[in-house]
């Protein structure tokens, strides 16, 4: 029983960062209709940005986090401006292939710059875990959970309570009408891609110190993000958040009770199972995001 | 005279919306029948049900005695019921000639054969030659021989419709469903099409068409079936339909009062 509770707590913590990954992708995929194969690379960049800031430049851990997120934001904006805008109007498969190309460049660039050896990010928290009843949780992971929940809440606020969020929701439902209503759809797309990318970077920056940082880490993360988007429904932020926790739970329980080697397969098995039963995803395309 | 097509108490609901309520009529072999009604009356929905693109919530459609319930579109075409499409009527990136070649797909079919096997085994050459000859004949018949090697997507709207007709005729149908064949055409194009429809009937193909162009419908049809709010409100030869009070009200009673009254009736019946 204690073991189960420990798994649940672990899943809760992991789920928070997965939710960030998923929300970022569902916004991009939902609003811009782009199959974003750079999402994993942004996750990796976020982790390496943390590494650079803390380990190489000696920046304070809590300052490095917003720096990493900002880096993801800027990189996302750059990708949208340089690569997606010129291809606006192309088929969705052309755009997807462009994203694959960009993802390759980013991942190889990371490998080239930092080398293939995994790096560790020093954490400012005490090593000894906190004991809450039968469950032991490290301070670092508690911080990760708190930061993730804060970012999710901020994203919600952005989408539901700001003018930018209103414009994004309009563009999600009907970009032509939104444009006719005075929304600069091109700027919304840049903002959306930047926002989604910053969330991926945040997820990487938060999980980097928990595990280790290596150039290929984005690959699996990206596919898990797709699983979460399919679980939660395209453009459905709430669905993505819930989906993130469900995936984390499936992974934790699968690793704990079935086999740890197949842990990463959980996401893929979920994708296959869900799409076989409900070919349009678990929830229908959301009526509105948020 | 037996009915070649029987629409038997067909109903279509989309959630709470009733698109078609109890549609019931027959088409007899050799007729030209028109299906008319105001916008949103359910005409294209009816076509989609008849050709297997939509499953009816109730009722059945019988073609030459065979029930079409649950059959996929390609199977219905195999039975001899073909259709044209209102908007996307061609394969845009292929030439007109290749369009018709695609349409002649059924010519090389032997039921149950694995697709492609003939090609792999090199037995296809004679069938290819026959298909090409037939494609030429079809193009000649609809009058598009001059355009044979142009891209279908680049053709004028009216000519694309002719390609659509050629495609449907390529399947050697016993009956042809034409979905708004002259919409967007001018008077002379429409005349050409009316002549074409009569020639199709002379070839032995029964025609059911959906249209909005009243003069054209009155001129070409043997019988007219009138739909409104998914219901059949009148049926008969053009002269009778022209003076039918229910039809007149359906078309002229566009004011909100009339619509509300009809909607109230609808809510009671649905």
């Amino acid at each position: 029983m204690n073991e189960l509770i420990q798994h649940l707590v672990n899943a809760l913590i992991l789920g928070g960062t997965y939710a960030l990954l998923g929300i970022g992708l569902t916004l991009i995929f939902g609003i811009m209709n782009v199959v974003n194969f750079t999402h994993g690379a942004l996750y990796t960049v976020g982790a390496y940005a943390m590494y650079l800031a803390v380990a190489a430049l000696g920046l304070n851990f809590f300052l490095a986090l917003p720096v990493a997120i900002l880096g993801g934001l800027l990189l996302g904006a750059a990708i949208e401006l340089l690569l997606l805008r010129p291809f606006r109007g192309s088929d969705i498969d052309t755009t997807m292939l462009v994203m694959i190309g960009a993802g390759i460049i980013l991942q190889s660039g990371t490998l080239w710059t930092f080398g293939g050896v995994a790096k560790a990010i020093p954490s400012p928290f005490p090593e000894a875990p906190l004991q809450i009843g039968p469950v032991s949780v490290s301070w670092l992971r508690l911080f990760v959970l708190g930061a993730a929940l804060t970012l999710i809440a901020l994203t919600y606020a952005l989408i539901n309570r700001t003018k930018l969020g209103l414009a994004m929701r309009a563009a999600f439902q009907d970009s032509d009408t939104a444009a006719l209503m005075g929304v600069d759809v091109r700027r919304i797309y840049t903002a959306t891609f930047a926002l989604g990318s910053s969330l991926a970077a945040a997820a990487g920056a938060l999980l980097g110190p928990v595990y280790v940082v290596f150039p290929q880490m984005g690959g699996l993360a990206e596919l898990k993000a797709f699983a979460i988007v399919i679980l939660g429904g395209l453009g459905n932020v709430t669905g993505a958040a819930i989906g993130g926790f469900i995936l984390a739970l499936a992974e934790e329980l699968g690793a704990g009770y079935v086999s740890s080697g197949y842990r990463d397969a959980m996401g893929f098995l979920i994708i296959i199972a869900v799409l076989l039963c409900r070919p349009t995803g678990l929830f229908a395309r959301a009526e509105r995001i948020g | 005279m037996s009915a070649i097509l029987s629409v038997e108490h067909v109903g279509v609901r989309f959630g709470g919306l009733v698109a078609i309520a109890d549609l019931h009529f027959d088409v007899y072999a050799g007729e030209i029948v028109s299906l008319i009604g105001p916008n949103g009356a359910g005409k294209t929905t009816a076509f989609n049900v008849m050709t297997g693109f939509l499953k009816p919530s109730q009722g059945d459609v019988r073609f030459r005695g065979t029930s079409l319930r649950g059959l996929a579109p390609h199977a219905i075409t195999r039975l001899g019921l073909a259709r044209t499409f209102q908007r996307t009527s061609v394969f845009p990136d292929d030439t007109v000639f290749d369009n018709v070649m695609i349409g002649l797909h059924q010519m090389g079919a032997a039921a149950g054969r694995v697709p492609g096997l003939d090609a792999l085994l090199g037995r296809a050459a004679a069938a290819e030659r026959a298909a090409r000859a037939r494609a030429e004949a079809l193009l000649d018949w609809v009058g598009l021989s001059a355009r044979a090697y142009e891209k279908a997507g680049a053709l004028a709207y009216g000519e694309q419709r002719l390609v659509g007709v050629a495609l449907a005729l390529a399947t050697e149908p016993a009956m042809l469903l034409l979905d708004e064949p002259v919409s967007g055409m001018n008077a002379s194009e429409t005349r050409v099409f009316v002549r074409l429809i009569r020639q199709i009937r002379e070839r032995g193909v029964t025609v059911l068409l959906v249209e909005h162009d009243m003069p054209m419908v009155m001129e070409v049809s043997d019988r007219i079936v009138v739909l409104n709010y998914g219901r059949l409100i009148a049926e008969g030869p053009p002269d009778r339909i022209r003076s039918d009070p229910a039809v007149i009200e359906a078309y002229l009673g566009q004011g909100s009062a009339a619509r509300q009254a009809a909607a109230a009736q609808e809510a009671v019946h649905a």
Binding site: V35, F87, S108, F268 | H74, D93, P115, D118, A119, A131
Partner: protein, 344 residues
């Protein structure tokens, strides 16, 4: 003109070793390039001709490799419930056959799946399928040796007992074997695409409702294409296994699918020569670049090349060149629907 070019290329490839000498380094590059090109041609059948974007293609390749290797090595595994599966080694040529069949079977499943799941979701499902297969290969150590790899895979042997056996061990022999299989695959695809079946695929890609209404059976057409595509990829995987004589789960890496996709898209999807041209360029480019740049830098170059080609010649090199030279480029149409959540 269209017939001449492939024949000329074939003649050139046949004569190549005789002209350039049997440099083992070059031959190795050509063999691996050839195998990947067969993979690219098979992917093109699905991606280019039917418009089904399957990004899990490497799964068929890898399954073919493992099936062929395990057939020729034999295995002895415990399936649980007290059942042991034991297999004695069979000739490698039989492995090639079984690999083709097994991969084709998986292709059948994917083909059926593509009707339930559409557009971008189909892409994601196929990637997931490939990843699951990779993880199985990695973790089912008893069968596959996991990361320790299957080694000492025998080379393919041709001939009949009594008439003389011919083991294809040297690079030169493997080169001609790959060339022969590749030519056969090209011929099969050309035959398929040129006639009624090819027209059916094109019709479905350009206007599916219209295609259905002229009597084209979408399910059957796409499934047959998927089976043939997968079977060819499986054959390529088998050739790979018996040439390298060692196979590990890295054969399932997404990166190899990406290589094949680049070959098809850059070469020209939906054309016959496209994947061949793309395959030769992107198969031999690493060889040319290796003395000059590190592999990571090469991948950056591929990413850039892919993006540039998509921008400048979105239909690919072969149609682009054909347009430049005044000939009509091959038709290409959108692969995915605009809204993946809308089901047909």
């Amino acid at each position: 003109m269209n017939r001449l070019l492939p024949l000329a290329l074939l003649a050139g490839l046949v004569a190549l070793p005789l002209g350039l000498g049997t440099n083992p380094y070059l031959l190795n590059a050509l063999i691996v390039t050839g195998i990947l090109t067969i993979g690219a041609m098979s992917l093109n059948l699905l991606l280019g001709f039917t418009g089904q974007l399957s990004l899990g293609h490497i799964a068929f390749f890898g399954i073919g490799a493992y099936v062929s290797a395990l057939t020729s090595l034999g295995f002895d595994v415990d399936l649980g419930f007290g059942i042991r599966a034991v297999h004695v080694p069979w000739p490698a040529a039989v492995g090639l056959l079984l690999a083709t069949v097994a991969a084709g079977g998986c292709g059948y499943l994917i083909g059926r799946l593509s009707f339930r799941v559409r557009g971008a979701y189909f892409v994601i499902v196929t990637i997931s399928f490939a990843e699951v297969v990779r993880l199985v290969a990695l973790n089912w150590v008893e069968l596959t040796q996991g990361p320790l790899a299957l080694t000492n895979i025998p080379a393919i042997t041709l001939g009949l007992p009594g008439l003389g056996m011919w083991t294809l061990k040297t690079k030169l022999q493997n080169y001609y074997l790959v060339l022969a299989v590749g030519t056969l695959c090209y011929g099969v695809i050309a035959r398929l695409v040129g006639g009624r079946f090819g027209r059916a695929m094109r019709g479905l890609k350009e206007n599916e409702p219209l295609a259905l209404s002229v009597g084209i059976n979408a399910t059957r057409t796409l499934t047959v294409a998927a089976v043939i595509s997968a079977a060819m990829a499986g054959a390529a995987g088998s050739l790979y296994a018996h040439y390298l004589r060692i196979i590990d789960p890295d054969v399932f890496l997404f990166a190899t699918t990406v290589s094949m996709v680049i070959m098809v898209v850059a070469g020209g999807k939906g054309t016959l020569m496209g994947p061949v041209v793309g395959g030769l360029i992107f198969g031999l480019l690493p060889v040319a670049l290796r003395p000059v740049m590190a592999p990571e830098a090469q991948w950056i170059v591929y990413g850039l090349v892919l993006i540039v080609i998509l921008f400048v010649m979105p239909r690919g090199i072969v149609p682009g060149l054909a347009a430049l030279l005044g000939r009509r480029p091959a038709p290409a149409a959108p692969v995915l629907e605009v809204n993946p959540a809308v089901q047909r």
